[in-house]
């Protein structure tokens, strides 16, 4: 009697988890904006045999946003998954891989991300701040104020804004705007920038130095701004493409 077909691959089988890890690393390596994503669940796995030691795998993955910006050198394993009450963001990805002689490689991937619903967050945490649009006027004003505040106090390089990563607004009991944004060092010190800001350009790729800032601005009842910016140091091969210049 012909040999029985192998049982279908389970989503928690070691082979599926190995493929998912390759897929998630590929997705993060090929993402140029926003945050790194971590695997939350393998939703589905399908195997298409192609011949001896050659199969195609289709994975449906459920990912969760971490607190690490995509330019951060922090290994994914050390990146904290954003908690439910921080207004989590989920990524749904379909990935096609090939397993040829035991070597996994990604052939194609397609993802889309979406924030958890406001109702869900407020059901668990009524006063939690919710994600705000990145072009909200209060968000833009807070980012500008925070970066100017940092640049006015630092003795290091003058920093320029790369992108706003996320923003949340809390309305009560106090009105608070929290923002996170990616920055890059320029070829000027903050002092030089005061004299001739036009001359301050981002460092060339072989010297680039990216960083990340978080800021919280209490608007009412009294104004209070806290800013924290950290530069990662030069990371060979890590580049940043302005939004819209991306290849999908």
């Amino acid at each position: 009697a012909p040999a029985a077909p192998p049982p279908p691959l389970g989503c928690d089988d070691p082979e599926s988890e190995a493929a998912a890890e390759v897929a998630v690393n590929y997705i993060n390596d090929h993402s140029h904006h926003g945050y790194k994503f971590a695997l939350n669940r393998i939703e589905q796995v399908r195997v298409l045999p192609q011949g001896p030691n050659n199969e195609i795998l289709f994975l449906e993955l459920d990912l969760l946003e971490t607190t690490c910006h995509i330019l951060s050198p922090t290994p994914l394993a050390n990146c904290t998954v954003r908690s439910f009450t921080e207004h989590a963001v989920e990524g749904d990805c379909d990935v096609k891989l090939q397993n040829l002689d035991g070597k996994l490689s990604v052939l194609a991937s397609k993802c889309h991300s979406h924030a958890d619903s406001s109702e869900d967050v407020h059901q668990l945490c009524p006063d939690c701040p919710l994600l705000a649009s990145l072009n909200n006027t209060e968000v833009l004003a807070t980012v500008t104020t925070a970066l100017n505040d940092h640049n006015s106090k630092t003795h290091d390089a003058y920093l320029r804004l790369l992108e706003i990563g996320r923003a949340r607004i809390q309305n009560h009991p106090v009105h608070v705007v929290s923002v996170e944004f990616a920055v890059a060092a320029t070829n000027c010190t903050a002092e030089e920038a005061k004299v001739n800001l036009e001359a301050c350009q981002l460092l060339p790729e072989d010297q680039s130095n990216f960083g990340f800032c978080t800021a919280t601005a209490v608007m009412r009842p009294s104004q209070n701004l806290q800013v924290d910016c950290q530069l990662y140091g030069h990371q060979p091969g890590v580049t940043y493409s302005q939004p819209g210049q991306d290849t999908s």
């Binding site: 989503c11 669940r41 393998i42 939703e43 796995v45 459920d62 989590a88 989920e90 869900d120």
Partner: protein, 38 residues
């Protein structure tokens, strides 16, 4: 209807009795949730 009833009876008898304490294996997918589901 006779055929159906007969088929149902046969199917009933064909059912393999499950050993006491039999726990069906978990469905292969979706897999475990590592953090939380939103």
């Amino acid at each position: 209807s006779v055929a159906k009833r007969a088929a149902a009876e046969v199917a009933q008898h064909d059912k393999v009795p499950r050993p006491v304490g039999f726990v069906p294996p978990p469905p292969p997918c979706p897999g475990k949730i590592r953090y939380f589901k939103i």
